[in-house]
Symmetry: C2
Subunit: 234 residues, 2 copies
DNA sequence: ACCCTGTCTAATGTCGACAATCGACCGACA
DNA sequence: TGTCGGTCGATTGTCGACATTAGACAGGGT
């Protein structure tokens, strides 16, 4: 039993450290996925996780349910949970759907962007370009996430944001391994600048079109990258 | 212990009767919601359900997790699960989001509709009008569901359909009590005919616009209906 | 009268054990 | 040799009990 480390120290900075085991399990699986400790097709066994973390299977199951509903685990009744293996078409579909949701999210609030907010978006794009040129892929993704959040979170449609964020997380977790192999620094800047430009134009059709197109292309690229890596594996 | 009725008869038509308790719990909660046995704001206690169904809390929790992830239960840690109480704006938001998803789902496959498929859609609309005029509200909803499925399921974007169907189910379960109070029979026919007409026109922008508008208006109406009913309750 | 505090209760969170079931393995038979 | 059927192991499904915690309630201090 290794419940020692919990509740021990760790009360300095945050008042709300992870409380329930369920949340810890979720973070642990995220970590495993992001570090390629778990790969597509792998079975994630409850008892294995329970042993790894020194807890019982109950909170593990709670966490797996949540991951499953967010598309981060494939569930086969009476068999187990597996890291999903997405066909190229399914990858493109996921990004397409993301484009639909985020395109609308941004479009429907484009009128409310203040000049300083648009500048802030510009700043994010600059920073992404710099980070990309310095090969700081992780930083690119972080800033990209901020850019994305800042744009979409102006919208107050909770249902829309729920789906948007779920899908965003899913794609982030499942395809992190292709970061940095998608676009050149110049392309990263140009693509995001096109989105900001569309917002500035206040042309709603154009905004949706640009965002959809962006994700369609990104999805297509990732699908292609996965295909070659699975070919080489076979 | 009332596990008698399980596995008893009921093997004629379906080979796959409900197997796990979890699925039975989900159906049971659906029933309770649809029959107003559970109302918005009510707490759904695990032990109560466990006693009601004669099973332990484990499968109940499995089911509640799923319902929660589908937006059919509000979860408050360490407190419990509640039937969601949606503010008018949130209702509109849900329908808006549904319009976005379904509008795209239909638009992106509009070219593939064959003449006979379009006729089938016409037939659904006719049938809905007839049922509505005969006050068969339940039948209207059933046919409406068929119409909806037939249109959207032509799309093969699994991610898109997943969200579409989740949201469709959520709205179906939560707002069933307003069926029949939304539109006149003539309006029902006219509104759905407009959608089919848009598909026939192959004008993609128009298709998305019509579907979005349809759900926006429906959501607005339901939000208004809920507001008056909650006013009268207060 | 108001608020702060300690207790108490009822609900969720977690546990270890047992049951049911899927899939792999292996041997018998055509 | 290939296929069918039974056995077996590993994994999920379910159970009842215990631990923990949010919220209600009462009592005392101001």
């Amino acid at each position: 039993m290794s419940t020692i480390d919990r509740q021990a120290g760790m009360k300095k900075t945050m008042d709300f450290v992870k409380k329930t085991y369920k949340d810890q399990v979720i973070d642990y699986i995220y970590q495993l996925l992001l570090s390629n400790g778990l790969q597509p097709g792998d079975q994630v066994k409850e008892s294995w996780l329970a042993q790894q973390m020194g807890i019982s299977r109950a909170p593990i199951r709670e966490a797996m349910k949540e991951l499953m509903m967010n598309g981060l685990l494939d569930y086969r009744p009476q068999v187990g949970n597996f890291i999903p293996v997405l066909l190229p078409k399914q990858i493109v579909d996921c990004y397409t759907t993301r484009g639909i949701l985020e395109g609308y999210a941004v479009m429907s609030v484009c009128d409310s962007f203040q000049a300083e907010e648009l500048q802030r978006l510009d700043h994010y794009v600059d920073a992404m370009g710099s980070a990309a040129r310095e090969q700081h892929h992780k930083r690119v993704v972080e800033i990209g996430g901020d850019f994305h959040d800042f744009m979409t979170n102006k919208n107050e449609n909770v249902q829309l944001l729920e789906y948007t964020n779920r899908l965003s997380l899913k794609l982030h977790i499942l395809f992190c391994r292709y970061w940095g192999r998608l676009y050149t620094p110049a392309e990263i800047e140009q693509r995001h600048r096109a989105i900001v430009a569309a917002i500035r134009s206040l042309d709603k059709d154009q905004i949706e079109k640009v965002v959809r197109q962006h994700y369609l292309e990104t999805g297509t690229k990732i699908a292609a990258l996965q295909e070659v890596s699975s070919d080489s594996a076979a």
